[in-house]
Amino acid sequence: MTTIDFQLKDDILIACIKGDLDHHSAAGLREEIDEAMQAFYAKHLVLDFNGVGFMDSSGIGVIMGRYNKVKEKKGKIYITGCSEYVRRILDMAGIFTITQLEETRQSAIDSIQGNVAMQMRMEVI
């Protein structure tokens, strides 16, 4: 059984995926993430793969689909908690050219908030 734990920090939705990510579980994951993004008016998405035991190319499809939706809101996707093996698969599809890889969930949040602060400063100047 694959599940997602959601956390919300300002306009950032953090989705921690637990279990196997294959074609079978991908359909439900996509739907749950999209519903949560809408329900919480989230702009950015942090995907935490720390609890993912198995993943095939369906994981790439899930990220690409979410990227298109988040981009419409001018948000960004951050990926964290990748095992070496998950990273290898995502790298094959060039996922890290459209998302940002972070070591931890916290560094992803800091990175988003840091970017926001930087933008605000630029506007003031």
Binding site: A26, F54, D56
Partner: protein, 145 residues
């Protein structure tokens, strides 16, 4: 001496994890590394998903056949076949990012992942008859020597 197994199952997405788990359990008798097992599971998962999504076009009444052969030089052969619609252009289907599914949700990376995790991938397909994917993996012998 060769060791063989063969299973048949319905083309239901929930059987994807059954297939890769079964293949992994069988290959485990050769005492592979965790990395090798994960790579084999990924190859099986991609091939079985392809049979279900593309071969049988998500119709759950199809039958997917998985055969696994282990031989004495630690060579693993996995054959996954379906009697679905077949692939009109195999070379095109193997190209990275090519998909006939919804491009926003399907990455088209299935064959690329199979090819990079397995040592050899052969595709035999005829439209209207079905597709057979044969994957080879040579397990490391390092820890035996």
């Amino acid at each position: 001496m060769e060791n063989k197994m063969k299973v048949e199952f319905s083309s239901r997405p929930e059987n994807e994890s059954f297939a890769r788990g079964t293949a992994a359990a069988f290959v485990a008798t050769l005492d592979p590394t965790m990395e090798e097992l994960t790579e084999i599971k990924t190859g099986v998962s991609e091939a079985v998903s392809n049979a279900i999504i593309h071969g049988y076009e998500n119709n759950v009444e199809g039958i997917v056949v998985m055969e696994c052969i282990l031989d004495e030089d630690r060579r693993v052969t996995i054959i996954i076949s379906d009697a679905g619609v077949g692939i009109p252009d195999v070379a095109k289907a193997r190209e990275p990012m090519f998909t006939t599914g919804k491009p926003e949700e399907r990455s088209g990376m299935g064959f690329t992942v199979m090819e990079s995790f397995m040592d050899k991938v052969a595709v035999d397909s005829s439209p209207g008859k079905g597709t057979t994917i044969t994957m080879l993996k040579y397990l490391d012998t390092g820890h035996d020597l």
